[in-house]
């Protein structure tokens, strides 16, 4: 096999058994790699009804054939498991350098099983795999953990770890790697914490190969990244979207009671560039450089780190009605250090702010004035959540469980109990379907129709209608799943679309995938994830978006009067997918895809 390393590491933390298995070749070909292969393994090996935080759950780290090859933006790995937050399948994606290092050590992926009695970390150097005691780093933040473990093992090693949030089973905890990169969503950090696994430290000096001809193809495709959009990622990062989304009226504010934010210019990509940007940063192989290395000097929020990116600006900024860039950046730094998902964190705080505003929670209970716009309180709540301190202990359950606790789940802006992203589906209508049908819950990285509706990628479609959106969502979902499995960053495909990466996949593996095969592999993945969720008990009724978006019209701005529409799109979508009215894949569809 070329491109794929061909080996999977299986580690049982209960009985400390370590096994090296062959990657099933036909599985690799059917699913390309990463997300697809891991989802299939999870479906085959884990009861979908299992409690995400129990030892019976498995935690899978997996790369794709282009990961670590120096392919444009080929840095990605996935973390696949049963989510304790959404109670559905979780598949969180991260970049940095850890995935490439794992392949250089000789593995496509790692399956973690069971639960260690005491805190441990894994030290993997090529064929040598050790389960080591982690008492020296348990309780330490992500950056200190990275420093200490690299000193303890090898300064060239790469670290994926949890912070205090993951240890304390915060349901929105992330797995962090290379200090500031994160597999953030769906509480995968809590799953790692539940297994008493603090970190996976990897050093790979063996390397892995690809098929002949890869080099020239790689150079050719790298050179496609030359236009304004590619440059835009480097100049403004993903926060280039702040101004655009605010102008078209889809930047959520005030916990989704508004879709424009007057303070947007203060937290935009330009504001970041002018006020806090130190330099841009890339993941392994990246040709875009959207990473923001930043520094805040405001004494109230002083610090240094990476971010914020667009979603974080919405989560700590507009939806909390905060236009203090220093505070937004600081909240992001704390998330990185304590190991938490910045989207879910910010949107959970916005939910708490609304509960506070309406008097359902009191200043006495919170310990401070949690009004919208209070930047200091917001930042303090982030820290308290990561440490499960005081009121933070309640925020640590995410906004759905928080709002339900006070009898008002309608203030939680979630799909499948996971906080939705920064594109208001009342103005970008297809996004209702994107959020509702995403197997991992509210999220923008699976078939986001906003790219077509607002940014015109791959081509512009009307944003305020629902017609045709089911087909757009389906196509983007399938291609996106294949891309995740390939090990490539979604931003790369935003710039040059998918075909170049099918060509590069063939160049790396020596196979002959067509674009149709590629899309089909994504469809298989999407059906596998759906099957997992169906068996976990999540069907049509779980494919929902917050009631507010369906019922409360946007009060002002370019999208004034609009509401989100879901049910007719869902009907279309299930039909196109070959699923029944309840959202369950039909036997015919599963046969057609070769799943059964």
């Amino acid at each position: 096999m070329k491109g794929w390393v061909g080996k999977i590491l299986r580690i049982n933390l209960t009985n400390k058994e370590i096994k090296i298995e062959d990657l099933n070749q036909s599985l690799a070909k059917d699913y390309i790699g990463g997300r697809g292969v891991a989802s299939k393994i999870l479906l085959d090996e884990v009861d979908p009804k299992v409690d995400g935080l129990s030892p019976e759950n498995k935690l899978i780290f997996i790369t794709g054939p282009l990961t670590g090859t120096g392919a444009p933006c080929g840095a990605r790995f996935m973390v696949v498991t049963k989510s304790p937050l959404t109670e559905s399948i979780a598949c969180s994606n991260s970049g940095g350098y850890w995935g490439p290092e794992l392949k250089a050590a000789g593995y496509d992926g790692i399956i973690i099983e069971g639960k260690s009695e005491k805190p441990v970390y894994l030290w993997i150097k090529n064929d040598r795999v050790e389960i080591k005691e982690a008492s020296g780093v348990w309780g330490k933040d992500v950056h200190r953990t990275d420093d200490i473990l690299r000193k303890e093992t090898d300064c060239k090693a790469r670290v994926a770890c949890i912070g205090p949030a993951g240890e304390k089973l915060v349901l929105i905890a992330a797995i962090m790697n290379d200090r500031n990169r994160s597999a953030a969503r769906s509480g995968v950090g809590a799953v790692m914490g539940s297994k008493n696994l603090k970190a996976i430290v990897v050093r790979g000096t063996k390397g892995f190969g690809v098929a002949d001809g890869f080099r020239d193809k790689n150079l050719e495709i790298s050179n496609l990244f030359a236009g304004d959009l590619a440059k835009g990622y480097g100049i403004l990062g993903t926060t280039m979207a702040v101004d655009i989304c605010n102008q078209v009226g889809i930047l959520p504010a005030n916990n989704f009671r508004e879709s424009i934010f007057a303070g947007a210019p203060n937290i935009s990509g330009q504001a970041i560039r002018k006020n806090i940007l130190v330099r841009k940063r890339s993941c392994h192989g990246c040709v875009l450089g959207c990473g923001r290395v930043t520094k805040v000097t405001d004494p109230d929020f002083a610090g240094m780190g990476e971010g914020p990116e667009y979603e974080t600006v919405y989560a700590f900024g507009s939806t909390c009605m905060i236009d203090n860039l220093s505070a937004v950046a600081k909240a992001n730094y704390i998330c990185n250090e304590l190991g938490m998902d910045s989207i879910s964190m910010g949107v959970t705080i916005a939910c708490a702010m609304e509960l506070f505003e309406k008097g359902y929670i009191t200043e006495k209970e919170v310990g401070m004035n949690l009004s919208f716009g209070n930047a200091k309180a917001m930042v303090e709540m982030v820290r308290k959540t990561g440490m499960r301190e005081g009121f933070g202990d309640k925020l640590a359950e995410g906004s759905f469980r928080l709002a339900s606790r006070y009898g008002h789940p309608e203030f939680s802006m979630t799909s499948k109990k996971q906080e939705i992203s920064a594109y208001d589906p009342r103005g970008s209508k297809g996004m209702a379907l994107t959020y509702a049908t995403n197997p991992r819950g509210g999220d923008h990285t699976r078939g986001a129709t906003v790219f077509a509706e607002v940014f015109g990628i791959p081509k512009k479609v009307k944003s305020k209608i629902i017609e045709g959106k089911a087909e757009i969502a389906r196509e983007l979902q399938d291609l996106g799943a294949a891309n995740d499995s390939n090990g490539v960053c979604m931003f790369a495909t935003v710039v040059v679309s998918h075909e170049p990466f099918v060509n590069l996949l063939n160049a790396a593996t020596g196979e002959n995938f067509t674009l149709r095969d590629y899309q089909l592999s994504g469809e298989r993945t999407w059906n596998i994830e759906r099957l997992f969720n169906v068996r976990a008990g999540l069907k049509r009724e779980a494919d929902s978006i917050p009631k507010r978006l369906l019922e409360e019209p946007v009060p002002d701005g370019p999208t004034k009067g609009e509401v989100a529409i879901l049910e007719p799109m869902l009907d279309d979508y299930y039909k196109i997918r070959g699923w029944d009215k309840d959202g369950v894949p039909t036997q015919e569809k599963l046969k057609e895809l070769g799943i059964i």
Binding site: V278, R281, C286, G289
Partner: protein, 161 residues
């Protein structure tokens, strides 16, 4: 004056494409262990050093070699190791102030950058123009000397990259 790989750390974004290009060209695999260019990153200070061998005027590695296996080409300035003469003693590895001469396997074999004999692969793959293949001005030469001493200081006490 001959071409050199001109390093511009300010432009570097730490993408490591130079490293993958190098290890793939010479060893047909991807791992920075086998790359002769290394982008050395200091996270706390946000410093990235995408550098390879500086092909020094008076190479410490050459002086340190007990068997005269290392030589410097008068015309191109490129410093190379004669693998047949090399005894893998590692004196050069210890002598290099910027740690850009490497043991690459357990047998102790030593490798270093030779600018791909005039067609450097890393420069082709660098998208941020942090590496350029060209002649440099006296001013740039001074900057290059400063970079060398800055990195030497940072790597003091480090055994090998």
């Amino acid at each position: 004056m001959a071409n050199v790989i001109h390093f511009k750390p300010d432009k570097c974004t730490s993408c490591k494409r130079c490293e993958t290009a190098c290890s793939h060209k010479y060893f047909n695999v991807f791992t920075n262990q086998l790359s002769k260019i290394k982008c050395v990153t200091f996270d706390e200070e946000n410093l990235y050093f995408p550098v390879t061998c500086f092909q020094c005027n008076n190479p410490p590695c050459l002086s340190a070699c007990p068997v005269d296996a290392i030589s410097k080409d008068k015309e191109t300035g490129i410093v190379t190791i004669d693998q047949d003469t090399c005894t893998c003693c590692g004196a050069c590895v210890e002598a290099c102030p910027v740690k850009h001469i490497f043991h690459y396997d357990d047998s102790g074999h030593v490798i270093k950058c030779d600018f791909c004999q005039g067609n450097p692969e890393c420069v082709l793959f660098c998208r941020d123009k942090a590496l350029e293949w060209r002649e440099i001005s006296d001013e740039e030469k001074a900057g290059r000397d400063k970079l060398f001493s800055d990195l030497s200081l940072k790597l003091e006490g480090v055994k090998e990259l």
